[in-house]
């Protein structure tokens, strides 16, 4: 992720420019600056209105008693929302479930995606076909996927009948989404099935940045398949690894649509998540302030996790 370097690289050019002695060019430069500012204005205004202000509002509203439709204006209530939140068992349940989901999905999905990428990163016929097929769930909306799997997870649904067929009636299956033990794992399985193709493609493009010569050299040294992976492939994927970890983590912590369509947080709050809880209080019960407090904690959580991941996977040079 050399995103920040793009901005940094632009700096010397600008400094060099400003250090110039003032000359005739001034009018043209002023014109250029004006046009530049003009071109960027629409995007900047929109980002201000629909990104920065809402983010700042999240920090402000969390300490008020704002409601979506309120007879009187909101006023500050200090930490009331947070004290209420921390004494709410549903909040702790959603925090726990959000972490549970993340801790399973992040490693499993990234490893499975890497495995798929390695499996089709070969020069054989039909690679394109396989890649396309693995990618199909990704272009299917998560809402559709959730409906479909909800149907398949029913007690008399496809998942159970497949299990019975494959294991010759040894495994009976269960009512996946109505069982507190299996509801979350069932949603995890489906989520991984849906999104793993996306990260496979990103691993693939990472694999293609590794120079061929390194593999040839490893071949000459008589390296085994495992050694090639360990000493050539794995070190070559460092940048990709960071990107994949951060994106999967953010996506996993933002779990919402699956819950909303499949379980509505149940059974017994075993699948409620932070975003789901924020949406339920904020939109259905119109408690904007309380929902902002949940969002704020979610925001801090996401930021902390991605900073920690960046730090752990940083370049050690």
């Amino acid at each position: 992720m050399s995103i920040s370097t793009a901005a940094a690289a632009a700096e010397p050019a600008i400094e060099a420019r400003t250090r110039r002695p003032r000359r005739r060019l001034k009018a043209a430069e002023r014109h250029e600056a004006r046009i530049g500012a003009l071109m960027v204005t629409p995007a900047v205004i929109l980002l201000l209105l629909f990104f920065f202000i809402p983010v700042i509002l999240c920090f402000i509203l969390a300490f008020t008693n704002a409601r979506l439709i309120a007879p009187e204006p909101a006023h500050f209530t200090g930490l009331d929302n947070f004290t209420r939140l921390f004494s709410d068992p549903v909040f702790w349940a959603s925090l726990r479930n959000t972490f549970y989901f993340g801790l399973v999905v992040v490693p499993v999905q990234s490893a499975f995606a890497l495995l798929l990428a390695l499996l089709i990163n070969v020069k054989t016929r039909g690679v394109n076909f396989f890649r396309t097929m693995y990618f199909i769930p990704v272009v299917t909306s998560i809402v559709v996927v959730s409906i479909l799997w909800r149907f398949m997870y029913q007690p008399d649904g496809l998942v159970n009948s497949l299990l019975q067929t494959v294991t010759f009636n040894v495994v009976q299956g269960t009512d996946w989404l109505n069982n507190t033990k299996t509801a979350m794992p069932a949603i995890m399985f489906m989520s991984i099935w849906q999104a793993v193709g996306f990260h496979m493609v990103i691993w693939l493009s990472g694999l293609q940045t590794i120079p061929e010569e390194r593999y040839e050299a490893a071949d000459l040294d008589g390296a085994t398949t495992w050694q090639k992976f360990r000493y050539v492939t794995w070190p070559g994927l460092r940048a990709t690894r960071t990107f994949i970890l951060v994106t999967i983590t953010i996506a996993a912590l933002s779990l919402f649509a699956q819950i909303n369509v499949m379980t509505a947080g149940g059974p017994l709050n075993s699948t409620t998540t932070m975003v789901y809880q924020a949406v339920r209080t904020g939109y259905q019960q119109q408690q904007t302030a309380y929902a902002s407090a949940i969002s704020l904690i979610f925001f801090i959580l996401v930021l902390t996790v991605s900073l920690v991941q960046r730090y752990l996977t940083r370049d050690k040079d």
């Binding site: 995103i3 920040s4 793009a6 901005a7 250029e32 046009i35 500012a37 003009l38 071109m39 960027v40 629409p42 995007a43 900047v44 929109l46 980002l47 990104f51 983010v55 509002l57 509203l61 979506l68 439709i69 390695l118 990163n121 070969v122 693995y134 990618f135 272009v139 299917t140 909306s141 998560i142 559709v144 479909l148 799997w149 149907f151 496809l158 009948s161 099935w193 996306f198 990103i202 493009s205 990472g206 694999l207 293609q208 593999y215 071949d219 398949t225 495992w226 990709t240 951060v246 933002s254 919402f256 369509v261 949406v279 904020g282 939109y283 904007t288 929902a291 902002s292 925001f299 996401v302």
Partner: protein
């Protein structure tokens, strides 16, 4: 399952079989094993989708009757489009589809213009605060929409909008329940700006200079020099903004109440309220998946390329 990773596919045309001069470490059984593994995975990823398509053509009792055999994945038995007519009879599915097409198209098209223009200014013009703006835009990439969605509902409910009441311009407040609330917040997109920016950086600046010498203005350079060379970036950004726009769910769920303004994904909640049979549910799901799937299969290289470029470039 281990496969030979010694050959990474490259942009260059695949080398012919003569490439196998070096002793490959892949015996025949491993090659076959690799293929078997890949095909099993195809089944794993495709079976639910096939099941959805096939079930949408069957009455409910037959869907459940076929579950314990391979018939679950084959369009056999009482095949008809009855479920589809049920869909159109029970919900305004046509209206939802038109809404979604309209909303996604507008978001993508206006977004292409706004974001590429901003990226052009960031990449090719010198003006004060340029680096700051660029750094800030890039910093916004790590904030998921879900973190500020709820304050944003409160916020758009306060925003003004100029309307005409009987020829008299009038400010009204509140954007809830409209098309604009589903389009305008998603036009400016930091990710799209970033992708355009990195692509524009690869276009030689001498071209601008030459055009300047010929007396072209900056807007002219944007329109006639840079954009015509940016086909791949335009394709990438279109795909990456179309998918989320078509799949909009959380946002319209919260800000749109009227049935006739709803996009397709929110239409789903109808079925849950109505407790309809699964057949029509599968038909509706198929209906809202097919457009994207067809687009994907036609432009799959561009699709997958766009995802790939979003990851590693920087």
């Amino acid at each position: 399952m281990a496969t030979d990773t010694s050959t990474a596919p490259s942009a260059i045309t695949p080398a012919p079989e003569a490439h196998h001069r070096q002793p490959t470490r892949e015996p025949r059984w491993q090659k076959i094993g690799g293929y078997v593994g890949r095909i099993i995975l195809v089944v794993f990823f495709a079976f639910p989708i096939v099941f959805m398509f096939v079930s949408s053509l069957k009455p409910d009792d037959q869907i459940f009757g076929d579950l314990d055999s391979v018939k679950a994945f084959l369009p056999v038995g009482k095949i008809s489009f009855d479920n589809y007519s049920t869909v159109f009879d029970t919900v305004p599915a046509g209206r939802f589809l038109v809404n979604s097409i309209l909303l996604s198209a507008l978001t993508v098209v206006i977004g292409l213009f706004v974001n590429s223009l901003a990226a052009f200014a960031l990449s090719r013009l010198r003006w004060r605060a340029r680096t700051v703006v660029l750094a800030v835009i890039i910093a916004t990439l790590v904030v998921p929409f879900e973190t500020f969605a709820l304050p944003m509902v409160w916020w758009v409910n306060k925003l003004p909008w100029l309307t005409l009441r009987g020829g008299v311009p009038l400010w009204e407040f509140g954007w809830l329940d409209s098309y604009r609330v589903q389009i305008i917040p998603f036009i400016a997109n930091a990710f799209a700006i970033f992708l355009f920016y990195s692509y524009f950086q690869s276009i030689p600046k001498d071209l601008d200079e030459a055009a300047r010498v010929d007396g072209a203005g900056w807007f002219r350079i944007y329109r006639s020099v840079v954009m015509p060379l940016s086909g791949p970036a335009i394709a990438t950004v279109s795909i990456l903004t179309f998918l989320p726009a078509w799949n909009q769910y959380l946002w319209p769920l919260m800000v749109v109440r009227s049935e006739n303004l709803r996009p397709v994904m929110v239409g789903v909640s109808y079925f849950f309220q109505l407790k309809v049979a699964w057949g029509p549910m599968m038909a509706y799901s198929t209906l809202i998946t097919i457009p994207v799937l067809v687009l994907f299969l036609c432009f799959q290289r561009a699709f997958i390329g766009s995802i790939a470029s979003s990851g590693v470039k920087g």
